[in-house]
């Protein structure tokens, strides 16, 4: 009998699935907690192999262009095009302009750092939430918040033009406040003449830069706080990251990110700051803010761990409650072993 079914066709678009950033973030958090992390010894060889592959590709493509660059660590540059633009291993691109000279100081999981020694360079940065991309330009650091910007150094200091996305301009000495420059905006250390008072109170090698200090200060949004906390965390500044997450959950309690911020705060207090009692408080808050979030079982499991480390007598009760509520959780084995008498 001949089939009445037609030929198979792709109907997947008619079974839609909503996957937003929050869902993807929760997925990654759960994957990261379970995926095997690289071991220091073996990763050295893996890194060596990866760098070798990348270097071989770079060498093949860039024989003609190598002399034009000032990169000291070419292994992280995977491609040069005919105009001299460089593509880093993460896909970020740097195009030198007006005698620009750059030096790649760092390229690893936590961050990329480039020093603009002179001239001008255009940066088209692939934004990765868990790492920072910083351009050192004289006294200021330009921190990518994503994605395309031009930095120029000249005798009077440095200037930044943002073509797309946002950057932050920071002064490592702490004299200047952090400035955020958005699409179409520019910033320059010599853009405005400093007032006499400002010049007197800010003895810097490039005093004209203090003009930026007079800019109005806008309260940070939940998104900005979360991004700043991420940047601080990956830079190893756990205490700063915890402070930012704490501000986020307290100031933006109705924001959908507040629960996640409290959860992250708990993890930081437990894993990096050695504060299990504080972690319990943060996990409690995360569960109160987002009781049905997909990370709820993660938060509860970490809460049991924090109670155990704090030698809190509530540990066994919390463990039993977790096992009753989440019998199929991936944390069941780990939680079952906790709070031994």
């Amino acid at each position: 009998m001949k089939s009445s079914l037609g030929e198979p066709r792709d109907l997947s678009a008619y079974v839609p699935t909503e996957v937003d950033d929050a869902r993807a973030s929760r997925l990654w958090e759960r994957v990261r907690s379970r995926a095997p992390m690289p071991q220091a010894g073996s990763s050295r060889w893996l890194r060596f192999a990866a760098v070798a592959v990348v270097a071989a590709a770079a060498a093949a493509i860039a024989l003609f262009a190598a002399r034009k660059t000032a990169f000291e660590r070419r292994a992280q540059v995977v491609e040069y095009d005919k105009s001299g633009a460089m593509t880093l291993a993460d896909g970020s691109r740097i195009r030198l302009r007006d005698g620009g000279r750059v030096r790649l100081e760092r390229f690893d999981a936590r961050g990329v750092e480039v020093t603009l020694a002179e001239g001008s360079a255009e940066f088209d940065v692939v934004h990765v939430a868990s790492r920072t991309f910083v351009v050192h330009a004289g006294r200021v650091d330009v921190v990518d918040v994503g994605t395309r910007f031009v930095v120029t150094r000249d005798a009077s200091g440095a200037s930044v033009v943002v073509e797309e996305g946002r950057v932050e301009v920071r002064d490592p000495s702490g004299v200047l406040p952090v400035r955020t420059i958005a699409t179409g905006e520019s910033w320059s250390t010599s853009a405005a003449a400093p007032s006499a008072t400002e010049t007197a109170s800010a003895p810097s090698p490039e005093p004209s830069a203090t003009a930026a200090a007079s800019a109005p200060v806008k309260p940070p949004s939940a998104k900005e706080l979360l991004e700043a906390a991420d940047a601080a965390r990956v830079a190893g500044r756990s205490r700063d990251a915890a402070a930012l997450l704490d501000i986020l959950r307290r100031r933006h309690r109705s924001d959908s990110r507040a629960g996640l911020a409290a959860f992250e705060l708990g993890r930081l207090r437990l894993d990096a700051l050695g504060d299990p009692a504080g972690a319990v408080e943060a996990f409690d808050d995360a569960l109160a803010l987002a009781p049905s979030a997909t990370f709820a079982d993660d938060a509860e499991a970490r809460r049991v761990e924090a109670l155990e480390r704090a030698r809190d007598p509530r540990c066994r009760g919390a463990r039993d409650a977790f096992l009753a509520r989440h019998p199929k959780s991936v944390h069941v084995v780990e939680v079952t072993a906790r709070c031994a008498p």
Binding site: S4, P8, L11, Y14, P16, L27, P36, A89, D90
Partner: protein, 205 residues
């Protein structure tokens, strides 16, 4: 016609290399070298594809995230086995398919041993299918997700791959890791079941 589900939208599958930023190959090389940011980038880039495929294979939104998580953990743990780093998307899909197969088989086994729920959980096919789907597509998808729970594991996965994903026999064979003749046999069996279900639906008063 607007409905309570009208906010749902399809998440397009990013073709390899089409996403903005580093290529899949660059991310795979970096991830193999232990770079956590590259693993995260791969996970975020393909979260939509993997969760969507998981949902279509299992017929459940709730279980889709668990399957996606399992598949990514396996993928990250076995990146060294990926021969062509630029082929990450297809490789990832096959991991999702094989993991889904294991999940369904385990569920069937547990039920036989009396360790799982006695009754098969009814799939809410009406919530799975977009209200924007043409009537013939809606009828076919509803029939598929109605019969899915009662089918043997491999036949079930083959049915979704062929009738929902629109894959050829060759592609189904590759994704499931079976021979071409087995893929054709599975398709014939699942098509026959589907045809009976659709005929029965039509005959319903």
């Amino acid at each position: 016609m607007p409905t309570s589900r009208s906010h749902l939208r399809a998440v397009p599958t990013p073709p390899p290399g089409a996403a903005r930023g580093p290529s899949d190959a660059a991310l795979v090389v970096a991830a193999r070298a232990g770079e956590d940011w590259a693993r995260e980038a791969l996970c975020r880039r393909y979260a939509g594809m993997v969760i969507g495929l998981s949902r279509r294979l299992l017929g459940s939104d709730g279980e889709a995230d668990d399957l996606a998580q399992e598949a990514f953990v396996q993928a990250i743990g076995s990146l060294d086995a990926l021969a062509d780093p630029q082929a990450f998307a297809g490789w990832m899909k096959s991991i999702v398919v094989r993991t889904a197969h294991k999940v369904v088989r385990r569920r069937v086994l547990m039920r036989r041993l009396g360790l799982g729920p006695r009754e098969r959980e009814a799939l809410d096919e009406s919530s799975l299918v977009s209200p924007d789907a043409p009537p013939d597509v809606r009828a076919e998808l509803r029939a598929i997700y109605t019969i899915l729970q009662a089918m043997p594991a491999r036949e079930r996965i083959a049915l979704v791959l062929r009738r929902v994903e629109g894959l050829s026999h060759e592609e189904v064979a590759e994704q499931l890791g079976v021979s071409l003749s087995t893929a054709k046999r599975l398709a014939a069996a699942s098509d026959a079941t589907l045809e009976r279900a659709m005929r029965a639906r039509k005959e319903e008063p």
